[in-house]
């Protein structure tokens, strides 16, 4: 069962929680938080060809108060660090974080010895639930990331996992 890092609620019934998690998993409202190149791939995923709305995640909310998942799509640098933490705080529970792209995972192409300005990874700021590698990751990778987050929330996988090869 997922949600080990989402705090518990006052009333807890097993079946009711399963139903709630199913509802949460199928209506993840991401926050428009496109920083750099990965934001363009996120927009392509929102487009009609890759169609993120098949997973109920096409409602990109601008304000953190109404969003469930923060997709960190791009590079966080030292000037933006406080703003990112503020946005994370302002999101109500239950909230999840998807680190999209190498920059959000570990600083990516900017993790060099002369790095004076890039925060090397979003998990230095807050707990991250799903990492999507790629620079930028393909829209299919973002959809796979959302499916992994859904599996983390409900414990069941919606689509059979594609075996490589």
């Amino acid at each position: 069962m997922g949600e080990e890092n989402v705090p518990a609620s006052i009333v807890q019934f097993a079946q009711l929680d399963k139903l709630l998690n199913l509802g949460r998993a199928n209506s993840l409202w991401p926050m428009t938080f496109g920083l750099a190149c990965c934001a363009i791939e996120m927009m392509c995923t929102g487009g009609s060809r890759f169609d993120i709305s098949r997973f109920g995640a096409e409602v990109f909310r601008p304000s953190p108060r109404q969003s469930d998942v923060m997709i960190v799509a791009g590079t966080i640098n030292k000037k933006l660090e406080l703003a990112v933490k503020t946005l994370y705080d302002q999101m109500p529970e239950p909230k999840w974080v998807i680190a999209m792209g190498n920059c959000a995972i570990c600083g990516g192409p900017f993790k060099v010895k002369e790095n004076y300005n890039v925060v090397e990874g979003a998990d230095k700021l807050f707990p991250v639930d799903v990492y999507i590698p790629g620079c930028p990751p393909r829209p299919e990778a973002l959809l796979e990331g959302i499916m992994m987050l859904e599996e983390k929330i409900t414990g069941k996988r919606r689509w059979p996992r594609v075996q490589p090869g």
Partner: protein, 135 residues
């Protein structure tokens, strides 16, 4: 208190209770089922106003232009106008509503729309570009 009045009162109270439940129900349910009242913090800024991630500069409690007040007045005029038109709408297809009543309603709406004409002439609806002469 004969039977008909009593049943009407019961209908209205049931309707009232339903409305209240419909209003406060979700708030209570969410309080019970949502993961927790507090959210996870990293910079302790949960209750800060939303301003695109930035600290809001100064307070927003300042004197606004009068123009927004005029918009509110016009809305109020037409809100009350609609309030009076509801009973008319209910009784519209009854036979005794003659042509004379129709003209009365028309006159009533016309008088109220004078507020719009007054606001129009006062230039409430024109939003010109301004140049600011900095002292």
């Amino acid at each position: 208190m004969d039977q008909v009045v009593l049943t009407n009162i019961i209908y209205v109270t049931i309707f009232l209770i339903g409305a209240l439940l419909f209003g406060f129900g979700p708030i209570i349910i969410v309080k019970l089922l949502s993961p927790s009242s507090h959210t996870r913090q990293t910079a302790g800024r949960t209750d800060q106003l939303i301003e695109c991630g930035m600290e809001p500069i100064g307070s927003a409690w300042i004197r606004f232009g009068i123009i927004y007040y005029l918009y509110a007045l016009i809305f109020l005029a037409f809100d009350v106008d609609v309030l009076f038109l509801f009973p008319v709408a209910v009784a519209y297809n009854s036979p005794e509503l003659g042509l004379r009543d129709f003209y009365e309603i028309l006159l009533f709406v016309a008088i109220l729309s004078l507020a719009i004409v007054y606001a129009w002439r006062k230039g409430v609806f024109t939003w010109e570009k301004k140049t600011y002469l900095h002292q």
